[in-house]
Symmetry: C2
């Protein structure tokens, strides 16, 4: 299974046989007061530097979320997409819960986007999938349905399967459905990590879709989150995640993903690993 | 499957449903000139401090290798076992290619030891398994046979299966056979890591034995080996390794294994993770 996405100048392929693709998560006002304030004031200049920084750090897709209360997300998201596409040429992941904003953003988007996201709830599928189809985009399917986020990997698999089936009914191919198995914090439920990892294995083995993951939720509330996030990312990639959503500026996570690529046979002779190491050494010396 | 080992005062259980068990690798003269010189001179005093340090750092089993050219390994290994068992109460892993030394060491060992190791070669099986059986020990089976170390996970699985079957024929139960899938360096063969990870998955899914791994071979010759080793350990544990052989004094590896335990549901509410973090913080402040 190969998911192909495109920006203005670059096509990115996601597959278990290729190196991990990082979806850069930084363009999101949640927890970033300065970005939230800028967006609320209609100032999009931060988006450009955020975009360029993430691409330089190794992101191959950028998530774009501009959800700030009190703003017109429909206008803001489309403007943000234009702004970021003027700065970087790789594919974007349009992140919104607002169908009108999604539609407006895809209308101005150049290339083939990834839509973040749809759940397995009937209302969400009915609302989002036709828009995905209309614009020929790909979509992230969150592995939960009307019953909420299950603690059973089999039920999460069932939700993923439902999304893939409903997409297929609209002629959206499995290549264009990327599954998010969902990660909850292990600080609240000790089994949460294992449920996520087991879901990844089930999706990989039975559906075969590409798999994303917002791994950092898992470490919420615990000390030394960078190490926890990096370890969870490596474990998740070992069992089947192919395009995690993460912060490429986090060097600990970045190194774990490069190392994971190396051990999965996706970095011939450690070329990428050695290049990253040398660049880091130069950074320390300068 | 639960492997139970015992030292003079402590029983250790290894299982996929329990936290990872670290086999401390430090008591081995390979690459440790000072230890090699001490052993060659018949001085065993370093073993005690090496043993205590590793236990304090979280090892639950200690590997004991005293192979130094020009020494009488038979006498030295037995003396080393006595020396270490006088210092720490947990199980030991008797590491030798010399059957007479193994026999002598097990004869003085108190408890139930782990023997490191036997291959799937007929001559090795004939030589080692009867000794393992005689002393009621458990044994590590290296996943290679007369044909050498295969690049095919299926052939490594076949070697593991042969060891389990030959052990069973001597009434050594599968619980008492721990499989080592073998790790070669990815610097020489880019597929080496994937072969190891795939072998782990096959052994876990088809045989179900406990699985050990000397993960650090994989990073040989590459920069930033601690990060590579830690990442490979986390990935290996994610797919089925239950008792890696590693250096517990390596804080990067130690943290990755604690994080892996957390994400596999083996650390309720992150208790061990938080304790380790606090201890590390106290260490930095003192």
């Amino acid at each position: 299974v190969i998911t192909e996405l495109a920006g203005t100048g670059r096509t990115v392929r996601i597959s278990a046989d290729l190196p991990v693709v990082i979806i850069g998560e930084r363009i999101n006002p949640t927890g970033r007061k300065r970005l939230a304030a800028a967006l609320a004031a209609g100032d999009l200049s931060l988006l450009r530097s955020d975009a360029v920084q993430q691409v330089q750090a190794g992101a191959q897709i950028l998530d774009i979320n501009v959800g700030v209360p009190g703003t017109d997300e429909r206008a803001l998201l489309a403007a943000a997409v234009k702004e970021v596409q003027a700065a970087v040429d790789l594919p974007l992941c349009i992140d919104t819960a607002n169908a009108a904003a999604l539609d407006a953003a895809l209308a101005v988007y150049q290339g083939k986007a990834l839509v973040n996201s749809v759940t397995a709830e009937d209302a969400a599928l009915d609302r989002v999938l036709p828009i995905v189809k209309r614009y020929g985009a790909a979509v992230i399917g969150l592995a939960h349905d009307e019953r909420g986020i299950s603690t059973s990997p089999e039920q999460r698999l069932a939700a993923a399967r439902k999304i893939v089936a409903r997409a297929a009914a609209l002629d959206i191919s499995p290549e264009d459905v990327v599954i998010d198995p969902l990660a909850l914090t292990v600080g609240a439920d000790s089994a949460a990590g294992l449920v996520t990892l087991s879901t990844i294995q089930l999706v990989r083995q039975t559906l075969g879709n590409n798999i994303t993951l917002g791994a950092s939720n898992a470490s919420f509330g615990l000390p030394d989150r960078p190490t926890l996030n990096a370890t969870f990312l490596a474990m998740a990639v070992a069992v089947g995640v192919t395009c995690p959503i993460t912060n490429p500026l986090d060097a600990v996570a970045r190194k774990a993903l490069l190392a994971a690529d190396l051990f999965l046979g996706h970095d011939a002779y450690g070329g990428n690993w050695i290049r990253f190491y040398r660049a880091a050494m130069r950074g320390l010396q300068s």
